[in-house]
């Protein structure tokens, strides 16, 4: 466990170095970005000096890292506000959207994969697998636009754009973010459904299930107490991968729904070369990825009987 944490920290450090180098190599000058193409050379010089941009990249990196170690992520090059303030609220917004998408994801995955597995080869299974195939092949922005067409324009149940405010009530917020959350849920769920259904089908055919059936244990109990826990392992792995997808998926989804989150901030930050904010965003993403994998490993160990008993 200690080793794993150390490796994670080393990974984060490596990521931060890579980002710094990439941001330095990226074509384009921060000063021109911030001040605009009609700015004068003199204005740009003043700006560079104020931010110490002419110092070597290595020196700027060490300065920055020193700050991070003390918990100071620095200030946005663009606005001069502390990075934590710039990122903080948007991170909460994205977290809200991600958690909402996950909450929708779990029942959807369980429902469809159980229905599919229990009716193997019959119409509910065919319909489920057809739907997941369609879901697999739809890019997010198409799905998003279809959802908007159906549930914002044709049936105006939800707003087409997910505008949120800090002072907004919980139900209003849920209402505003339902379409983007669904857009994230679908691509995540289709993978997990196919995976879990396959596992369940395999397990339901296995000898120990036949044994249970012979003993007269009811089918739903076999499913819930025996098959499902054993089948969850791979599905949890997929879920961890899905969490990683969430991090990148929100970029597209936030753009389409004009949602005020990290994705939109990331795009803006790359175009303005705002390195302190960019570093914070990428580290946040990497940390989420690492933690998600860690959690899925722990959950797998706890839930899957074969692993729990310390084989």
């Amino acid at each position: 466990m200690v080793k794993r944490v150390l490796v994670s920290l080393a990974t984060l450090l490596a990521v931060s170095v890579v980002i710094f180098i990439v941001a330095d190599v990226l074509p384009g000058d921060v000063a021109t970005r911030v001040l605009g193409r009609e700015s004068t050379a003199e204005q740009r010089e003043v700006f560079r000096e104020r931010l110490n941009l002419d110092a070597p990249a290595a020196e700027r990196y060490v300065d920055w890292l020193g700050g991070v170690v003390r918990g100071d992520f620095g200030e946005s090059v663009v606005s001069g506000r502390p990075v934590t303030e710039v990122v903080g609220e948007k991170a909460l917004n994205t977290l809200f959207l991600g958690v909402y998408a996950l909450i929708l994801y779990i029942p959807v995955v369980l429902f469809f994969s159980i229905v599919g597995a229990m009716n193997k080869g019959r119409w509910p299974d065919t319909v489920t697998s057809g739907l997941t195939l369609v879901g697999l092949s739809l890019p997010e922005f198409v799905l998003a636009n279809m959802l908007v067409l159906a549930f914002a324009l044709w049936q105006p149940w939800f707003p087409p754009l997910a505008f949120v405010d800090p002072g907004m009530g919980f139900t209003d917020r849920i209402h505003a973010t339902t379409l983007p959350a669904l857009t994230l849920t679908v691509p995540m769920a289709v993978y997990a459904i196919r995976m879990l259904r396959g596992q369940l089908v395999e397990i339901l055919d296995s000898e120990y299930v036949r044994m249970c059936t012979l003993r007269g244990i009811p089918r739903h109990r076999i499913l819930i107490s025996h098959a499902l826990p054993n089948g969850l392992g791979p599905a949890l792995k997929v879920t961890a991968l899905n969490l990683a997808y969430l991090i990148s998926g929100v970029v597209v989804v936030e753009e389409v729904f004009s949602y005020d989150g990290l994705g939109a901030l990331l795009v803006a930050t790359i175009s303005t070369r705002d390195i302190p904010v960019l570093e914070a965003l990428v580290l946040l993403g990497a940390a989420t990825y690492i933690i998600a994998n860690l959690l899925s490993d722990i959950a797998t160990t706890l839930l899957v009987p074969r692993l729990r008993t310390g084989r």
Binding site: G28, T32, L153, P156, P160, V164, D172, H175, T272
Partner: protein
């Protein structure tokens, strides 16, 4: 017993459905659910198209993108405003006049104008402070490069409480026009940059409510003591930004927003088919330009430049690349319909003439003219305009190799760095438009156009008091560019906005940085 497993699934399904119903039950379009709805109409929800992100602020000294300018238009006034035809209108200044030799300009301020911050009355001190601040390099304003060459901070003096005089470095007949730009909003005397960034301090029709630069929705309430009668019409204003064009389309179709500041041609055509949305256009707002370096082969031969201009079918570029939302350009920055234009129509396509000019310059079928045109998708329609241009040039035997670069790095790495490249500019008054990218010493001299005779015409115009004589001088300069200059300006692009039918009084302006919130109001 099998029934029980279905029961479990049923409960989960019911919970999901129940959750959805609960959420749907509070329809967002319900008028009671939206914030303010008073007896005189509701908030106008206005959507910009370009986000400033962290750079959004209420400091007029820095107007990074059009998102900044939206807030500025709401909370400030300028000394004067200018129309789409660049005529000046009084705003905070009732009247103004120059000294006989045009070296100083005196402005008479309106009385009874108050700031929404603390209710104090506008005086000369506020105006002097505003412009001295813009001229201070520490402020870091774009306005410095415009105003700096014209006037020094010490030259701005308050004659009395309501009179301000600007003593210029040299005579300038167009000076008032420079006080009507995107940075010249009048702020309260003594307001610091930090205060202005985060809360602003102006006399405008609206006042900000808890401004935060990165908030999704910027809320503004009516300035109760606003000086103009009957304005603003709306009790409040909610500014948002929608960068994705599909999202913008959905938002106005559903009524989530009332006004789209700018829409692309495809969206405009979709919206024109609807009864509940009106599409409004302005006159020339921006122009596309293909820039040739007049000092670099093969463009240093004026016949080559003329041939490359003669091959353009301007109508086709407008119809195809701009979907009809534009007008022809005449290879100079003044639109042909403008009072200062040197002729009222644009150069027509003449492939034969282009061929004979090329032959005279030594190009023929064995030795065809071949040029590289660097482009990027920096403005809607630019890419297809460039493709069309390459086809048109081929008709005259010219091979134009279009080299497309990513828009994100275009301004840093390609623009001004290749001898034949595209760019675009907003339409400005002739005095500015002819200077900003064509004067010898201009920092954005993208065609390497350096002619003493041209600069002399502009200088002479600036020192000429009579408007007709001045127009004559400007049109001579414009003619020089059309006939010999390095810019191919095939088309001017119209501004296109969309408004919900239940709103009235909104008029989009050709200058995208100018947004008039005073007259718009929405019902229902």
């Amino acid at each position: 017993m099998r029934r029980r497993s279905w029961l479990v699934i049923g409960v989960i399904a019911a919970l999901v459905v129940g959750g959805v119903v609960l959420v749907v039950r509070a329809p967002w379009s319900d008028p009671d659910a939206t914030t303010a709805s008073s007896d005189d109409g509701r908030c106008v929800r206005y959507a910009g198209f370009e986000s400033s992100g962290e750079q959004n602020s209420l400091d007029p000294a820095v107007a990074f993108t059009t998102q900044n300018t939206l807030g500025l238009n709401a909370v400030y006034n300028r000394l004067l405003d200018r129309t789409d035809d660049h005529e000046l209108l009084p705003e905070l200044a009732e009247s103004w006049e120059p000294s006989d030799d045009l070296t100083s300009w005196t402005f008479h301020l309106k009385e009874g104008v108050t700031f929404w911050t603390d209710g104090h009355e506008l005086t000369s001190a506020d105006v002097v402070y505003t412009f001295q601040r813009l001229l201070d390099p520490e402020t870091g304003s774009d306005a410095l490069s415009v105003l700096g060459p014209l006037v020094e901070a010490d030259g701005i003096v308050a004659d009395d409480d309501h009179t301000v005089t600007f003593n210029l470095k040299k005579p300038n007949a167009e000076f008032p026009s420079f006080l009507a730009t995107k940075n010249t909003y009048v702020v309260a005397d003594g307001a610091t940059t930090d205060e202005l960034r985060s809360s602003g301090a102006g006399t405008g029709p609206f006042k900000p409510v808890g401004f935060r630069p990165d908030a999704t929705t910027q809320r503004f309430d009516r300035h109760a003591d606003y000086w103009e009668d009957g304005a603003p019409k709306a009790p409040c204003l909610e500014l948002v930004v929608i960068e994705d064009s599909n999202a913008a389309l959905a938002a106005i179709q559903s009524g989530q927003v009332d006004v789209l500041q700018s829409v692309d041609a495809v969206t405009a055509e979709t919206l024109q088919a609807r009864d509940d949305v009106e599409v409004l256009t302005t006159g020339p707002s921006t122009f596309l330009t293909f820039n040739m370096w007049v000092d670099t082969e093969p463009f240093d031969d004026v016949r080559v430049r003329q041939a490359l201009k003669l091959v353009v079918d301007r109508t086709q570029i407008i119809d195809v690349a701009l979907s009809g939302f534009g007008s022809a350009g005449d290879d100079n920055p003044i639109p042909p319909g403008h009072p200062y234009a040197w002729r009222s129509d644009a150069q027509a396509q003449d492939v034969e003439e282009a061929r004979s000019l090329l032959a005279a310059a030594g190009y023929d079928e064995q030795n065809p003219l071949e040029v590289d045109l660097y482009s990027a998708d920096v403005l809607p329609g630019m890419t297809s305009a460039v493709q069309l241009y390459a086809q048109m040039a081929a008709e005259a035997g010219i091979q134009v190799n279009v080299i497309t670069t990513p828009a994100s790095e275009y301004w840093d790495n390609v623009w001004m760095k290749q001898p034949f490249q595209v760019s675009f500019w907003t339409v400005r008054p002739p005095s500015e438009g002819l200077a900003v990218s064509f004067r010898s010493e201009a920092e954005s001299n993208e065609t390497h156009w350096r002619r003493e005779a041209y600069d002399a015409l502009l200088d002479e115009a600036a020192a000429t008091a009579d408007p007709d004589d001045r127009a004559e001088l400007y049109s001579r300069a414009a003619r020089m560019l059309s006939e010999e200059g390095g810019a191919i300006i095939p088309a001017f692009v119209d501004g296109v906005a969309a408004v919900r039918a239940e709103c009235e009084g909104y008029e989009p302006r050709a200058e995208i940085t100018r947004t008039d919130f005073r007259t718009v109001a929405c019902d229902g």
